[in-house]
């Protein structure tokens, strides 16, 4: 049984992605028997390239994806370099999981409320600094260059990259390296950049690639923050797939293939940038310079992530304010009156989507947790080495969602499976599984094997040792992984929308649907509910082990040293 788990995981991740890609590739070249087309042709591509503004859509997708990733990585790297062991470091580390748990759509709405012409930032500086008595007439949110989208993406990507880096750092003995470099006379921030970063980057390369793939093809954030005419490529594709004119589906499939190309091009550009910076930094690493740039790196490093975290927090506060705002004249920082009307009016509508959201999240995370624990337990028992198949886990994160999910719907329909809740759960599993695995694997492997040796030498079988020793010792990381899984599921927009054919509504799909309406009070309510749900999961993950009487402080020797 246990031996089947890794195969099952790989099959669950690889088959849907390849089937989905296949069912997008075929129609892109004119083959879709359901619609009576069996002749290969290029008409879909001719139609696609005749679309007005296509070049601009492609350019915005490509540029916002690359720029946001670069900015987020820069912020995270400089922060880690500049803040090792400081008070700032400890407080932001505590913030990172909750920030990461907030769904993309909620962050996007909050950020929009922050930077809009009548948003919190404009109110903060008006009228005393800006002189504005009424909101300035400027297109800030949905700007044609995708800048709002880029910065919104940074707010979500920076916590992700920070968490991935923090998970990788213990393998590097960063403390010792740093002490060594400092004893050789290197200033702290430069020391980190010169002796830790070069070893850290290879460990977070896959997460960085996943971020690029996500950012170049994101739909929900682009719907909220991205340009409108034309929108990003991914948003255009979603529109064409949903077009009542069925012949447009061929064009949508061609565009999905184009999206795949855009993401690949972005990944390739990034790879070239990596090679270039490796060449350029080689001299810098060994030139013996111990001081130059220290102050600049330190200041930007601390300021960057602090600003990003403050922006994310302010975005949440903004959501809260709008959700209870009554009358709110422009330059006033706070509403003149508060009301719970919006909450009361939304309460009835919230119930159904809330139940769906919870059901989908619990089912997909539960399945994922069982599969992941079975795989890791099998790996431990067979003494397997984990690294080879890791990139397969990233497959659903590296292929743009929009490029294979629609094909997956078509493939499922060919098998006679109609869009429904079960299909949505299966779709969420594609994205929940990798994250649950990634957040649990390291802790699972690092558990000191002597705990289990002791148990077995006391006469307990391996099966019983798993239940009586392994699981109780792993309860905290396991619950954290479950919380991560719930958060990932709660935040999914596209899989729910496509695999549920719009009939399965969750808090996220409903919230994103409000974007076009522009009723900020209502958006505030829904986005806040959406943001709050994953936090409930994380709080439970912290509280449950204590309530269950698990060790309050992890004993130092639970984990293998180094």
């Amino acid at each position: 049984m246990l031996r089947l788990a890794p195969l099952l995981i790989i099959a669950l991740l690889v088959i849907p992605v390849t089937a989905g890609l296949g069912m997008v590739l075929l129609p892109a070249f004119g083959y879709l028997p359901v619609l009576g087309s069996e002749q290969a042709n290029l008409s879909a591509w001719q139609m696609l390239f005749a679309q007005p503004g296509l070049g601009r859509s492609v350019a915005v997708s490509f540029a916002s994806g690359l720029a946001s990733t670069a900015l987020a990585l820069l912020i995270v790297v400089l922060f880690l370099a500049a803040s090792q062991g400081t008070w700032l470091d400890r407080s932001l580390r505590r913030l990172v999981s909750p920030l990461l748990a907030i769904p993309h759509a909620a962050v996007a709405f909050g950020f929009a409320f922050l930077i809009a012409p009548s948003g919190l930032m404009a109110r903060f500086i008006s009228p005393w600094l800006s002189g504005w008595e009424s909101p300035p007439d400027a297109l800030i949110v949905n700007d044609p260059w995708g800048l709002a989208l880029t910065f919104g993406l940074v707010l979500k990507e920076a916590p992700f990259l920070l968490l991935m880096s923090l998970a990788a750092l213990p393998q590097l003995q960063a403390e010792q390296r740093l002490r060594l470099a400092r004893s050789l006379g290197y200033a702290p921030t430069l020391a980190w950049l010169k002796v830790v970063l070069p070893s850290l980057y290879p460990l977070i390369r896959l997460p960085v690639y996943a971020v690029i793939a996500y950012a170049t093809s994101v739909v929900d954030m682009a719907l909220i923050l991205g340009p409108r005419l034309p929108p990003t490529l991914s948003v255009s594709i979603l529109g064409w797939f949903n077009d009542p004119d069925i012949t447009r589906r061929f064009m949508a499939s061609a565009a999905a293939v184009l999206q795949l190309g855009v993401t690949l091009a972005a990944l390739l550009s990034w790879w070239l940038l990596e090679q270039l910076s490796r060449r350029l930094s080689h001299r810098w690493l060994t030139n013996g310079d111990r001081q130059r740039g220290e102050a600049l790196f330190t200041v930007t490093g601390r300021a960057g992530l602090t600003l990003a975290s403050l922006a994310a927090l302010a975005a949440l506060v903004g959501l809260g304010l709008f959700s209870v705002a009554g009358f709110w004249r422009f330059p006033e920082l706070l509403p003149q009156s508060f009301t719970f009307d919006h909450w009361q009016r939304s309460a009835d509508m919230l119930a159904g989507p809330l139940v769906n959201t919870a059901l989908i999240a619990l089912l997909s995370t539960g399945l994922a947790a069982v599969l992941v624990v079975a795989t890791l337990e099998n790996e431990q028992r067979q003494q397997l080495h984990p690294t080879r198949s890791l990139w397969l886990l990233y497959l659903p994160l590296l292929v743009p969602q929009i490029a294979f999910l629609y094909g997956l719907v078509v493939a499922a329909e060919r098998l006679g499976i109609r869009p429904q809740l079960a299909l949505v759960v299966a779709g969420h599993l594609l994205f929940v599984l990798p994250y649950v695995y990634l957040s649990l694997a390291e802790a699972y492997r690092r558990l000191d094997p002597r705990w289990l040796y002791i148990a077995q030498s006391l006469g307990v079988s391996r099966r019983r040792a798993f239940w009586r020793v392994r699981l109780p010792l792993m309860i905290a990381p396991l619950l954290t992984a479950v919380a991560v899984g719930l958060a990932v599921s709660i935040g999914q927009y596209l899989p729910t929308q496509l695999l549920g054919a719009g009939r399965v509504s969750t808090v996220t799909t409903e919230a994103v649907a409000l974007a076009s309406g522009g009723n900020r009070r209502l958006i505030g309510v829904w986005a806040l509910v959406q943001a709050g749900l994953p936090l409930v999961g994380f709080m439970a993950a912290v509280a449950l082990p204590r309530w269950l009487g698990a060790p309050r402080r992890a004993p130092l020797n639970v984990q293998r040293q180094g």
Binding site: R450, L458, L473, P551, P555
Partner: protein
Amino acid sequence: MNNAANALTLEQVRIHLAGRPLLHVDATVAPGDVLTVMGPSGSGKSTLLAFIAGFLQSTFTAQGQVRLGDTDVLRLPAEQRGVGLLFQDPLLFPHLSVGGNLRFGLPHRSPQKSAQVAKALDQIGLAGFEARDPATLSGGQQARVALMRLLLSQPRAVLLDEPFSKLDTALRQEMRTLVFGQLREAGLPALLVTHDEDDATAAGGQIIALG
């Protein structure tokens, strides 16, 4: 007590790492005796213990026989070998109380478990400590509880992996006396790996040097 029937026999045990010979041991440990294996780190001391206890990593290959009395232990899964382990860390399960850790050691169908636990705690001067969280115990107290947990499981042999190296000098002497005394009293053959000459002297048995 019949010595031959309960001795720990290592017959022509050879362990290889990636084809390279690591160690070769041929010895018999009588009940109540301690065989000390000494050697620098990397000489394969702990690997020998992992082999006997049933936790050898798949990167190692081993030949030879390990017998407890007439039983060929290598054919048994680790949990049925009756080979107890004591490490330098006491490794008391943090999710169980002190009493819970001792009960974990007791065989499933032992009679009067509470009484046995209470008696064991009394023997090491920790009477009434059943409900305590192991993390609140001192290093020496934890080491003693780990020893009692091991003895309550009624092993047929005991393997000691540098069990005293993390204790301070005064405590180390006390623990040596306690551990070796208890093992002798229980009539268990024991195998100690260490790099500390004093451990070997205190064990008072045969010494094999590796590396």
